[in-house]
Amino acid sequence: MRRIFGQAGPAQLLILSALILSFTVTLIFPLFSLLSKAFFDKSGAFAGIRNYIDYFGTPSLSVSIRNTAEVSSVTAVFSVLLGLAYAYALTRTNIRGKAFFRYTALIPIFLPTVVHALGLVYIFGRQGILTGLGVETELYGRFGVILSEIIFTFPQAFLMFAVALEVADGRLYEAADSMGVSAVKRFFGITLPDIKYTVVNAFFVCFTLAFTDFGAPKVLGGGYNVLATDIYKQIAGQFNMNMGAVVGTLLLLPAVASFAVGQIVTGRNTSTVSSKATKLSVADNRPRDAVFFVFCSAVSACFLFLIAALCMGALTEYYPYNMAPTLRHFGFNASAGGIESYFNSLEMSLLTAVFGTAFVFVYAYMLEKTRGFDMLRRYGRLLSVLPLALPGMVVGVSFIFFFNARSNPLHFIYGTVVILVLSNILHYFSVPFVTATGSLKKLDREFESVSDSMSVIRVKTFLRVSLPLSLPAVLEIFMYYFVNSMVTVSAVVFLYGAKFKIASIAITHMEEAGDISQAAAMSLLILLINAAVRIAYAITANIIERKNL
């Protein structure tokens, strides 16, 4: 028996199989539905690539590809440059107010992308603050969408560079200084080579995010069509499921490509900092610090300005005509979802955070800390990285195709909070999984051996040892799931039911209906809860860290 089961008992096999099976049902099956829809016509007959020929034969549709690629590449270039400079300022200079700059840079993460666009409307729109001061821009169209996507992707690029620049081998810089190397040469000779993989990764991450974002083009696109708005129009507007599926696969392609490149890049990324590395001490350099301080102030001022604009819209009677302060916009119209939608969002995000964290952590634990069933585990690992390549729109569309089919025994979850929670857990799976795995890898691999030798059951070891020791990672995953579920639009826009509207969707509808003051008010509520969760996380993590010192 043991030769068959290897190291693990049948109970472990059972748990692992159950986890992997449920993952397969929510990931592979819907994806398969999407792909099959793309190759069949409306009547259900096999169409081959005819749908694609139709698609590329319709100029109004195929132009979207060019637009989307244009938006994404410009966005990625700007976000990478800005994110790099901002992260450099926070890690490699001695400017003041680093904590302040770090948190303001994260503001866009706490808001749905429709809100970034909404803020821009308040600033550059027809009655915008800057428009009133004589700044003429063509907000609706390419310019607005790109600007909004930069706001959306900047924090991602910044965070990636901040992590990469955090570690440095101080000895290399001391060696360079002793050789009298100039600052510019030092940057291009030491700093940049150290983070070159991050540059590539960050570019692809920003590119993919902008490529698949729905919120900004929804508000600011106007006649400027992109793939994400196309797929929405095809599915929710014209009920052309097959054409929607075609656009869905197109949306997938660059994500898959960048994902492949990302895998190659991280696969080669073996030049980690040596364990003998000394901490880098940043030399004093006043002119440098002054330049970076001005730069960081400008960037964070932009974000704060965005929030200020939202506040102004939400808290005044009728901007810009009647600037009397009021709270009346917080009495949301029931037609767009009302305050109910906010509570629905909280419920959905909490459920996502609780069940998502549990699933991710147990999944990572089973893959990391058990032995045997190598084939099954390899497949499990493959599943865990796939969601990284899946844009929210694709998750949403494939969920409709799969779960909305009458023949599906899981059909009953359609339109309920369950399907929203499932789609969020899946959509945001990969980052928490990496966090959980990284944390578990740091634990002594002999903890399990010791427990086994004392015939302590694995569940007890998991609950008493692995879980408590991974508490910081668990909290981080919880926060990540919560915040992202509060702001997500792309996956859930296809999945929410008439009886269960959520806040981010409600904002979209308020904006559509012209109630932009209410939309701004709702945005502030989302920002408030997300900031609160983030701060609560920071405090708790700090307490745990201090306790463990």
Binding site: R2, R3, F447, S449, D452, M454, V456, V465
Partner: protein, 330 residues
């Protein structure tokens, strides 16, 4: 019949042999050291005895029962790892308590008493409420030992238990571990790459190299009669020199210095001196450029009054001379 019998164990990792047809017998109450260079398969052998790894073929018998396919929890052993693997979120006594669950109907009070018992044995009573990070390396090692012996296992496995410690602490802990093992009369298997550790602690040494057992014997047998040049060279230092019928080997401390005339077997030119404290090693070269070392007590070396490029006259006691076939690899 031996207490622990290992029969023809073979284990491969991705085609690479970690153990090739390995057999060994370990008697009850014995302290056995498995000694070998890193990568020789000794840790894999230990993990198979523990049941943490499954052998591709072969069997393990404990106390006459076949336990080849038993999971670790059913084998009733205690284990100490090089990394200690103490649970950092529990105090020393909680670490020990963790393994004392419902063990043979022990009540809460009896479990507490047992914890005190083993903490007394390793002299950690006053540190019972500390967390592992508050202990020194040696104390952590003793806590891990206490945790391993607390459930009264029928044998003890030690995986390089002292490698992570300072030299001084290591020497002291050797004695302590050995003392506790003797006091409990528990069978113990310790894996180490440190030959001095094996020589000082073991009743029996199993020397391994390249996934196979090379020699088994008492420390004296292993040191005085190494079965192969590999064993001879791995444990202590050995001089090798060519002889008509193969290779001869002699320990440096066995060579006697004589006057030029009386009963000298070989003449070597002195190349240098290596002062090692109590002894001084004299490096020399035989004709045909074979290097040879002689250990003499340092005060004797001072009295000798020889210097580099002088000649020294060596007597090789026949009873300590070892011979190996010329084909044997060193």
């Amino acid at each position: 019949m031996a207490f622990l019998e290992i029969r023809n164990i073979t284990k491969r990792f991705a085609g690479q042999a970690a153990l090739e047809d390995v057999s060994a017998d370990i008697d009850k109450g014995e302290m056995v050291c498995v000694l070998g260079p890193s990568g020789c398969g000794k840790t894999t052998l230990l993990r198979i005895i523990a049941g943490l790894e499954t052998a591709d073929s072969g069997s393990v018998y404990i106390d006459g029962g076949d336990c080849t396919s038993q999971p670790p929890g059913k084998r009733n052993f205690g284990i100490v790892f090089q990394s200690y693997a103490l649970f950092p979120n529990m105090t020393v006594s909680d670490n020990i308590m963790f393994g004392l669950h419902r063990r043979r109907g022990l009540g809460r009070e009896e479990m507490r008493a047992r914890v005190d018992d083993v903490l007394g044995m390793v002299d950690l009573l006053e540190h019972r409420n500390k967390y592992p990070r508050q202990l020194s390396g040696g104390q952590q090692q003793r806590a891990a030992l206490a945790r391993a012996i607390a459930p009264a296992p029928s044998y003890l496995l030690l995986d390089e238990p002292l490698s992570a410690l300072d030299a001084k602490v290591r020497v002291r802990l050797r004695g302590e571990i050995r003392g506790i093992q003797r006091a409990l009369g528990i069978t113990a298997v310790m894996v180490t790459h440190d030959q001095e550790e094996a020589l000082t602690m073991a009743d029996k040494i199993i020397v391994m190299n390249n996934a196979a057992v090379v020699q088994t014997g008492t420390p004296r047998e292993i040191y005085d009669r190494p079965a192969t040049p590999f064993v001879a060279n791995f444990i202590g230092f050995m001089n090798f020199y060519p002889a008509p019928e193969g290779v001869c080997a002699i320990r440096p401390e066995r060579i006697e210095l004589t006057g030029a005339t009386d009963g000298c077997d070989m003449v070597a030119e002195i190349k240098g001196f290596e002062f090692k404290g109590a002894v001084t090693r004299i490096h020399g070269v035989l004709p045909r450029q074979t290097e040879i070392c002689v250990d003499v007590a340092s005060e004797k070396a001072d009295a000798l009054d020889v210097r580099a490029s002088d000649r020294m006259y060596l007597r090789i006691p026949k009873e300590h001379l070892l011979r190996y076939p010329a084909s044997a690899a060193i």
